[in-house]
Symmetry: C2
Subunit: 219 residues, 2 copies
């Protein structure tokens, strides 16, 4: 089969579906769910969220320049969806979801969500008004990690948390592990090395051959 | 258990691990794998990639202002990892991975990767030099979708493609479907409605209660 060419659109997946918590100077707080988010720089650690100006949290973000990115898990899927489709103008999302506010370490107004395995405290450095969405670029100021997911050496085993994946309108669980960063070129003990490397490369080529063959058949 | 507070870091997951294809005006092309990527605006459709200036593709991106985001799948995990750890200065990644160049519709220099289920042609609008990484903001100019994943009505069933997830140093398969966007407030037929809504909310509360109880026990 071939490919269809479509007009410009948003088809970059899979993505996280994070709950972003915000607050204003009067003590109001809210949660909104966002998939238009990501890491933009390793050092300094920076992330972004893109938000429609119509959203209830938008004014809080503009007023305080603060937000917390709260990672979501399978257990939090219902709450994540709810906070993505309901507005804080109409409902108290904390009450409706049963989630609890926690105190941020470096922020003055935005709370964190205690039930999330990881919270990233963010301070806005710049807002870019791109179109339907305004992008809030931010520096990560502190990270909170749930001790339930630390191994005995204190290393975070984040993939034991059952992180939530958002892809093309659907929430998915994270599936089985396929490899670790760098596995395609990993050095093994000298006697293993050649066999393992060759096996991996050859398995990969076989998968591609298979795909090519079915492409040829169809086109 | 409680939480540990860490210094600023990059802990926003799960993410895509896309292969980005680039080209220069002399006909050289390359593939680099990137997780620091995402959608930044729905309308106009905009995406970004963040790239270290040391990377071989960086000069091509600066020279032409073009790149293609190629989505990756389980079958492409080996190639994605390989293109993330090897440099185009040292190896011909097309040859080493067996991937094939395709012609972009709206770009002059950057090719697409034929084996990817979806390709997003991107044209850079701005480069932000943030620190270790420079962020390339771009408009999506065209989307290519593999007909193998279109249903009989021509709708893309992207989650049948087996998309690759990158999370905290590991490649994961996408797992089972947990819900569809809006499922937490979805209206059912009148007789079903209350029961279903209540069931969903109550299942969610039970999961949170369970989590709270185990937190209480440990802290």
């Amino acid at each position: 089969m071939g490919k269809q060419i479509w007009k410009p659109g948003n088809m970059l997946y899979p993505l996280p579906a994070v709950m972003v918590s915000t607050g204003d100077t009067k003590g109001n707080t809210n949660i909104l769910t966002i998939a238009w988010t990501g890491t933009v720089c390793t050092n300094p650690a920076m992330a972004y969220i893109s938000v429609r100006p119509e959203r209830y949290s938008y004014g809080m973000l503009r007023e305080t320049g603060e937000f917390v990115i709260n990672l979501t898990t399978e257990k939090l899927a219902w709450a994540a969806d709810y906070c993505g489709v309901r507005s804080g103008r109409d409902v108290d999302k904390w009450k409706e979801t049963g989630l609890h506010r926690g105190k941020a370490e470096t922020l003055d107004f935005a709370p964190l969500i205690r039930e999330s395995p990881v919270n990233l405290e963010c301070r806005v450095t710049e807002v870019k008004e791109l179109g339907s969405h305004h992008m809030f670029l931010a520096e990560v100021k502190a990270v909170h990690a749930d001790e339930a997911y630390l191994d005995k050496n204190g290393r975070l085993e984040l993939n034991h948390a059952g992180l939530l994946v958002y892809s093309h309108g659907e929430y998915l669980a994270a599936g089985k592990k396929l490899g670790t960063f760098g596995y395609s070129v990993k050095k093994k003990a000298p006697d293993q090395k050649k066999t393992v490397q060759k096996k991996k490369a050859s398995a990969h080529k076989k998968r591609l051959e298979h795909k090519k063959a079915s492409h040829r058949k169809a086109t």
